[in-house]
Symmetry: C2
């Protein structure tokens, strides 16, 4: 087994090492359109507070972009994976993949 | 993308969802012999307190077995992955693999 891959796992510095945030980002990446808060809540079965706190961190790190619009005078906020988020997700999944491959002889 | 795999990631209930504990268990799984605390410290580059706290949790959950022996009158404690730990590691890696495969069309 490669020591490097295990070290790689430990030294990964990404918001996506949290599996809830990883699930949020993967869900956004898999969605054709931007998603509103309610749809994310339903798909991920999280509490409002939990999702809200993770979304704030993802926004602050610019992994997720917020879109605000009015539909029939009602404000609607939707979330979209940013290009930065998309690149970080790809890199993170590659790192996990490399780690998994290193464990294949266990 | 499969929703089930993302849900699976979120509902995984294992001590190994913590990546430090995952790295410890993978390191023990990759070692031919049992390992002492110092070797684990060196390989994983963790602080004593951090490693110690994770080892305690792994012991309590019986994923890791402790061996105590005397070598030239000095006590030596070594750690070994238990059969339960080995099964849980395998299941956990399979779940991550399934999740990764579900993201392959992102």
């Amino acid at each position: 087994m490669s020591l490097t891959a295990t070290q790689g796992l430990l030294t990964l510095d990404s918001l996506l090492t949290d599996r809830v945030r990883l699930a949020i980002v993967v869900t956004l990446a898999g969605s054709e359109d931007s998603m509103d808060f309610k749809s994310l809540l339903e798909q991920l079965e999280l509490s409002k507070g939990n999702l809200s706190s993770h979304m704030r961190k993802l926004e602050e790190a610019e992994l997720v972009t917020i879109q605000k619009e009015f539909i029939e005078r009602k404000p609607r906020t939707t979330y979209l994976l940013s290009e930065k988020g998309s690149i970080e997700l790809k890199q993170y999944l590659e790192a996990i993949e490399a780690f998994l491959q290193s464990t294949s002889d266990l």
